[in-house]
């Protein structure tokens, strides 16, 4: 075993040997609490300043733009109008029974819905694929160096620019691509399958391949912290493997699952390039609408769409966090 030394346990975060609880005196607690307050301020100050400079200020300008207007000269004019938001929800002929758009939601909302649906699909697939990998790394691979090495292997494709990787899907899945060649060769199909590329299938596949690694990290950390002694105790009490998994491992790994979900959620909701390169532009994601508007300088409507997207993402994160408390102390 090449485990370093007993008090250097990188593989088992937080499950260090129990130390006897120190005697707590009233004075000690008060003193420490005050100390902690100052200490917290210092800990969050650099990030907060950075966030204000590079996030909050630009974000405020986006919020301001969303109330501005483009005049008929294509110039953005300061204003306070809700027209961009009205346009967001507006469908021509919504209340007109004779129109074919009668009671149809606005195209922006439909685009948001498409994006949402795709995100959910990708999220579920990513979780299903990533969980066993994280489990394998945390529970089956014992040495830290191998855990890290095998995790890094999953990250290697990420170090090739995604622009390159998405272009590489074409020679893989195209009509004359490797997969079709293989299928023709073994004789399963008689002519190349078209749906492999430029379809919802290829888009989902490419997105899963791009982002699945984001799920592995957090789930791995949650699993790695599960104390082996709990599992052994359960086993000694005669619990069956699936019971142990359902009653102990799964609940304890939920924070990691939730964080992985948040990663995938925000990544796919904001995605745009892959939809063009691998999806063949056949599905419009919210990101594409924003790009299309920005490509002609329509910043106010682009801003309002972006803010609605952000709001949706925020609600999603909020729901995920309500379902799983990632700060739970057990």
């Amino acid at each position: 075993m090449d485990r370093p030394s007993p008090n250097f346990h990188p593989g088992l975060i937080g499950s260090a040997p129990q130390a006897p609880a120190p005697p707590k005196t009233g004075v000690g607690i008060i003193k420490r609490r005050r100390g902690t307050g100052v200490y917290v301020t210092w800990l969050v100050a650099p990030s907060t300043i950075w966030l204000i400079l590079f996030l909050i200020v630009p974000l405020l300008s986006i919020i301001v733009f969303s109330f501005w207007q483009i005049n008929d000269q294509n110039v953005m004019v300061p204003n306070f109008t809700l027209v961009n938001y009205a346009e967001y929800f507006h469908t021509e002929g919504f209340f007109d029974p004779s129109s074919d758009k009668f009671l149809t939601l606005s195209s922006n909302i439909l685009t948001l819905w498409t994006t949402l649906r795709l995100t959910m699909e990708v999220m579920v697939i990513c979780l299903l694929l990533a969980y066993p990998i994280a489990y394998f790394l945390a529970m089956q691979v014992k040495a830290f160096k191998w855990q890290l090495a095998l995790f890094l292997m999953c990250m290697v494709p990420f170090w090739t620019s995604y622009l390159i990787r998405t272009v590489a899907w074409v020679p893989m899945l195209g009509r004359r691509g490797l997969v079709n060649k293989f299928l023709l060769w073994i004789g399963i199909v008689e002519k190349p399958l078209g749906f492999l590329l430029y379809s919802e299938f290829s888009l989902t596949l490419a997105l899963v391949q791009l982002y699945v690694v984001l799920c592995i990290g957090p789930i791995f950390f949650s699993l790695a912290k599960i104390d082996n002694s709990i599992l052994e105790a359960a086993r000694d009490m005669g619990a069956k493997p699936y019971q142990i998994f359902r009653e102990i491992i799964l609940p304890l790994s939920l924070p990691g699952v939730a964080i992985g979900m948040i990663f995938i959620w925000v990544m796919i909701m904001g995605e745009f390039a892959t939809a063009g390169l691998v999806g063949g532009g056949k599905m419009a994601l919210v990101g594409n609408s924003i790009i299309d508007l920005m490509g002609t300088g329509q910043y106010p409507p682009a801003s309002s769409i972006a803010l609605m997207l952000m709001l949706t993402m925020m609600i999603g994160v909020f729901i995920i966090l309500k379902l799983v408390d990632i700060r739970k102390q057990l």
Binding site: I70, D72, Q73, N74, V75, M76, E87, S107, N108, L110, T111, T114, V167, V170, P171, G174, R175, R176, G177, G194, L197, Y198, G276, L277, G280, G281, K282, M283, A284, N288, S289, I291, D292, L293, M294, G295, T296, G297, Q298, P301
Partner: protein, 433 residues
Amino acid sequence: MKQKSVKSTATTPKNGVSRRKILQTAAQAATVGAIASGFPYRFNIVHGAESFRTIGLGVSVINEIQSKASKDIGHRIRGQALGYGAMFGKMLTQNTQYEVAEGYYNDMDVMWPNKVWQPIDTRRIKHWDQISNLAKTGKLTPGSQYGQGDAPFRQLWLDSNAKVTLNGPTRYVTMVPGWHNADSIGYNPDETGRVIDSWGDLMSDEFKGRVALLNIPQIGMMDATMAVEALGLYKFKDKGNMTRKEIDFVIDYLIKKKKAGHFRALWETFGQSVQLMTSGEVALESMWSPAVTAIRAEGVKCIFASPKEGMRGWHGGLAISAKVSGRKLDAVYEYINWWLDGWAGAFVARQGYYMSTYKRSKNYMSAAEWDFWYEGKPAATDLPDPFGTIIIKKGKIRDGGSYEQRFKKIALWNSVMDENSYLVKRWGEFKNA
């Protein structure tokens, strides 16, 4: 000197970074690569009186062009090639970050009223009189027809209030006309089995599932509109500036076709359109003409169609940021004059683009090159691309005929319509159908 530059690159700047040092380090990165492989460093930056920056697409911002210009006129020119979206945004919102904008006339509706560029004095343009009438009047030859949309002559001239006017010629212009081309459909004759000679063929049921369309809403819409009109389904008043009703008609038609599985893909970048054809994914697609050359260079058959309705044109040029003045402005004018002088025109011609001062480009091209690229005659010898690779074999002929034939009949120029944001919204519906 070279030894020294390698050394300073090795130290990674971290704390107390000086802007210059990082820039140096970055610039030297290329040097290191070049030295490592034993190649001479190609960008011998001439220390001239002025240095300035130019931004644009990879069509005109090509290292060899800017470094040749630097050498010829003795200024330091830094070109930054960007993708279309990044270029557009930077041109519109950051005119302090460039001196020259290698822009496009279809963006003028947005750029000019926002006052990011300055009027250009035609009296300071040495070869102004040699710029062809295509950009100045809209008619390359007296017998040509006007194209609809944002033709350069509609976006070129400025009145005394620096407003764009249709009443040219005037002394001041928005942008100096440069490289341009006409787009139509590219197809693989083995796959289509016949000649494609109409925009309507894009929608033909014979090619169901083997068609790709351009996914830039403004331009993709124009190609689709050309097809709808060619099929006689609708008569448009002005395809360069459509009404909501007209947009609705085309989009609804596209949605119907899409639901029937007509389109294989929508493409966004030049490279993607090439890949679609070379990978055998599509039989025909709306295409930019140099893409055809690139496809053939990979050994795949491809023909550039000459639709009987006429092609869709686009025109680029050189604009100057409103923030430039003094000696830097003089230097920028020198650069623009250099562009019009002919060397650059010959360079872009070898990639299949045309130049506004094409008669000057002739001086920098061999007779065989001129005949092939501009006159539409068979290649008398093997012809290279700008980088020396032979891409045209002897005896080949350029599709679409001569320059004059091609630009005599431009049906439509790339445009941004008044109903642009409505168009974008409905285009999204098409994509999601």
